[in-house]
């Protein structure tokens, strides 16, 4: 009986801590703080992994499955801070400045950014102040499936569809090194070496 009670207590604590992290992570942010925080996750490389993508889901107002493609966008190490373009009640538009640093395809080949004629660039985010939602899961015998959707307090959330996963130049170098280590394909390894050389010239 004591072991059963202890298990219940631990489970309750885990759920409480998880809920607290979820709500603390986005609930108190202003629109610009939310986007700055989202880009911090991207800088850490969180958008490139399944676990990281799971953390990023809380920033969106809708369900965002992890991207299928392994290609990634690369942005400058220096970005932001985000600025508010407009605010109308519970709808906000935020812009965050960055320099496009190119793209890495599924074979770890680096593709330089296209010349656009722009002196600077920024990514636009449409946000909504709406109740947060998070899902609990159960097993259907084979896979985890959504059990319940729990509605929480209102918070600013991103309404846009997530684009390709992206990270900064420095985290992209780590990503390429890790992917190179996992590959046995000589073409991919060669691409990775060239890509790292090119990324090291960027900032």
């Amino acid at each position: 009986m004591r072991r059963y009670l202890r298990s219940i207590l631990i489970l309750t604590l885990v759920v409480t801590i998880a809920w607290a992290q979820e709500t603390h992570s986005t609930r108190d942010f202003t629109p610009t703080q939310l986007i700055d925080q989202f880009w911090k996750l991207a800088t850490q490389g969180d958008l490139l992994t399944a676990n990281g993508w799971e953390r990023a889901r809380g920033f969106y107002s809708h369900s965002t499955p992890p991207p299928v493609s392994k290609s990634i966008d690369v942005v400058s190490n220096v970005w932001g801070p985000a600025s508010q373009k407009s605010l109308d009640g519970e709808i906000a538009v935020v812009v965050i400045g960055f320099d496009d640093a190119g793209h890495i395809d599924e074979n770890l080949k680096y593709i330089a950014p296209k010349e656009t004629g722009a002196v600077k660039t920024g990514r636009l985010y449409h946000l909504v102040f709406a109740p947060t939602k998070f899902e609990t899961y159960k097993s259907d015998g084979k896979n985890l499936v959504v059990d319940k959707t729990i509605v929480g307090p209102k918070a600013w959330q991103i309404e846009d569809k997530p684009g390709a996963p992206f990270t900064t130049v420095n985290s992209a170098i780590r990503y390429v090194l890790e992917m190179r280590k996992k590959s046995n394909d000589p073409n991919v390894i060669r691409n990775a070496d060239t890509t790292i050389e090119k990324l090291l010239r960027l900032n």
């Binding site: 600025s83 400045g97 496009d100 600077k120 660039t121 990514r123 636009l124 846009d160 684009g163």
Partner: protein, 170 residues
């Protein structure tokens, strides 16, 4: 700002040398969703490192300064912008109408502004005597010596003139 405020009264004019041009806003897929006409005196990525329709009203302080106790820029002084495309009229995503940052600076400062529609590059010669039409016609790298001139893209011997902007209401 200190260049404007610590050198006494400016009766003739102000020259800006620096970045200018279109700021592209992109969606998550990298598609351009809009364009903003900017001057970029700072190389940073934050909004306040640029002069845009959103913050250009801060330059209205020039009028207060002239009329107030600290005279800075006289009413007949003009502003010359030597930066890419500052005079190019575009549909500005922040303004939500067609304008250029040069026009907006003129509106807010109530001073005449001169700016180019075209891009600009550093040259060994001034615009009147230049032999190049763009930066590819200049040494690369440029020598670390003077004089150097910031001149507009355009045929040698027939460089475009800056456009003049006078104060208007938006």
């Amino acid at each position: 700002m200190t260049a404007l405020t610590i050198n006494g009264f400016i009766s003739g004019g102000v020259f800006y040398y620096g970045h200018g041009g279109p700021f592209h806003t992109l969606d998550g897929a990298g598609h351009v969703t809009g364009t903003v006409s900017i001057l970029a005196p700072g190389q940073g990525t934050g909004a306040d490192s640029n002069i845009t329709f959103q913050n250009v009203s801060q330059l209205s302080a020039v009028r207060t300064a002239y009329n107030g106790s600290q005279n800075i820029i006289g009413p007949a002084a003009a502003i010359w912008i030597n930066g890419c495309s500052a005079g190019k009229k575009i549909y500005d995503e922040y303004a939500l109408f067609e304008t250029s940052i040069a026009q907006q600076i003129s509106n807010k400062t109530q001073r005449g502004v001169y700016a180019y529609e075209k891009g600009m590059y550093f040259s060994l010669h001034d615009a009147a005597s230049g032999t190049s039409s763009n930066y590819t016609g200049e040494p690369n790298p440029l020598p670390a010596s003077l004089p150097l001139y910031l001149v507009p893209n355009g045929p040698a011997g027939n460089k475009p003139q800056p456009l003049g902007f006078t104060p208007q209401s938006n």
